[in-house]
Symmetry: C2
Subunit: 158 residues, 2 copies
């Protein structure tokens, strides 16, 4: 798919290939208390996983650690990639492709950047509506959460 | 990271955010014979997994099925996502982020599009050098290949 850019000075139109935009989202397990979600400061509003755009030249791992810190104040240890979601309708702004990580969070949580506030939810108390496809992502995660918590326990005990 | 576009008519410079570019690659298991690799027609040359750029508005699954068909002539059934690789140095042309799939291939293989030729390799006979980070990807795949082949066997028997 091509997209057109219009020159702001002369109005000349140029075409270039348009690509989906890579993002990351992080499922953060926090101190046996549950999952960290942010209340988004920017549209689309609502509760969501912390996450954001991957910078050019930045690996997905680095982007996940950076975004978690920027939005929640937490230092995270990545436990692994969960899945990469790419439905073109998953983000109302544009076509984004998100790689979702599972991580363990450390330190005091503090909302910042794109997060107006944050909270820690147990699986039973998750908000019924989440931004983007994050309800689907968390539903898929909860099916296999015990395996991730076992991995977390093994890491902690080493 | 910002990138500059120069208007071809008036030379005016405009800035926009630069993002990594999403791609897919497909590890195709073909009829108990081994893995399908292509000999690339375009730089970087050499043997590689079939794959390519994800179109705007296209899911990763759809891109993987399309690229496999375009480059190898095969119809593929996706067995699942393997991993998403994002090292900024993995592609000498630009920063690409590739989601790798494992798939089963059907039909007669025929090189086309970006594939100058193709061949089916057993794990023991893989080319020592592959384009991009595909040697690493295949090394990581071969460690867990028995689990994927078991999954394939289960699907075939249903």
């Amino acid at each position: 798919m091509l997209t057109e850019d219009k020159c702001p000075r002369c109005g000349c139109l140029t075409r270039r290939r348009r690509n989906p935009v890579p993002t990351v989202d992080i499922i953060i397990e926090y101190q046996d208390q549950g999952l960290v979600l942010i209340d988004r400061a920017n549209p689309p509003h609502g509760w969501a996983l912390p996450g954001g755009f991957v910078d050019y030249g930045e690996s997905l791992d680095a982007a996940a650690i950076r975004e978690a810190r920027e939005e929640t104040g937490l230092t995270v240890t990545l436990l692994g990639q969960f899945y990469t979601y790419s439905d073109p309708r998953r983000d109302p702004r544009q076509h984004t492709i998100t790689t979702v990580y599972v991580a363990q969070g450390f330190g005091p949580p503090r909302a910042a950047d794109d997060a107006r506030s944050l909270a820690i939810f147990t699986p039973e108390q998750l908000p019924p509506v989440l931004a983007f496809d994050h309800r689907l992502i968390l539903a898929e995660y909860l099916k296999v959460r015990p395996q991730w918590l076992a991995k977390l326990k093994n890491i902690t005990e080493i």
